[in-house]
Amino acid sequence: MTGSWRLALLAPALVVLAIAAAQVILAMPAFGHPLSQYGATVDALVPMLRNVSNMVAAVNFDIRSIDTLGEESMLICAVTATVVLLRGHRGEGMTECAGRLPGRVWLERSDATVLMCRLAATTLFLYGVNVVLHGTVTPGGGFQGGAIAASSFVLIYLGEGYSTWRDVLHSETLAAVEGFGGFVFAMAAMVPLAFGYAAAQNVLPLGTWKDLYSGGLMVIVNAAVGVAVIGSFGVLLMEFMEETRAPKPGDEDDEDQEEGA
């Protein structure tokens, strides 16, 4: 289909969408005056019922925790599918050196960069872990803290270069970490069932208000999500970065190209 055909089809579709959107916009409640009672009820009751101060974490990890378990499985499935797709073509082998584009100037990284990256990567990772641990008390939680901690892996790559990065982080370890997080979450949902409670019911002692341990089972679920998210994003970064490696002789890619030629 050529570009003009696409635009010709798009125009009526956008007109229909605009009319429908205008209808919906005029029927929406006024901005800033929510009608839903669910959130207001959570705000009013849950601080007393669960001894936590972060309502978002309470909704995610306790009140709607089966929902979050579904999201978590989606995350793990998406990461697994990505890894399978990327590895399907190149196999599981790892390469030592990064790929080079011909004609691209290569600059040695300065000592200042290495030092700053080492400092910042450590700080960022610890900060991410801190955000995970205080998830039930202050803004933060497994999802955010995990993403922050995983972004520190990028700084390791920037400071240490490809091969050291390879040596420090292992794809298998990160995948195991990811699976462990998912497993702990699934167990936190299932173990209460074995004792005759509802799935993911908060059966642990609730802890103290504004304390690191507050919210009972929420603490475990929160940590499990954090671990799983660190593992997921670590695996993603690692496998994508492996795509830019130097080709090895006898790689599957080369065979394919010979076939195609």
């Binding site: 972060n54 790929g99 933060g140 994003f233 970064l237 795509e243």
Partner: protein, 81 residues
Amino acid sequence: MNWLVGIALLTSALSGLLVVTSRIPRRQIYAMGANGVALALLFFVLQAPDVAYSEIAVGTVIVPLLFLITLAAVAVNRARP
């Protein structure tokens, strides 16, 4: 407070437009980073610090980086004899 919400909404609308109109993928990555910051500020103004955290870490670091690595991998594939 009123105008702050308005400005944040308009900024995120504008940065979304920029992501679409920057047709060269390498430039689009910068626009995506800017969009991530604009959205994070909007979420912060809408009293959602948790979501703003998540958007800063994911929308301005990890997703643009994945796009960058993909472009690098495409370039390496293309350079391969």
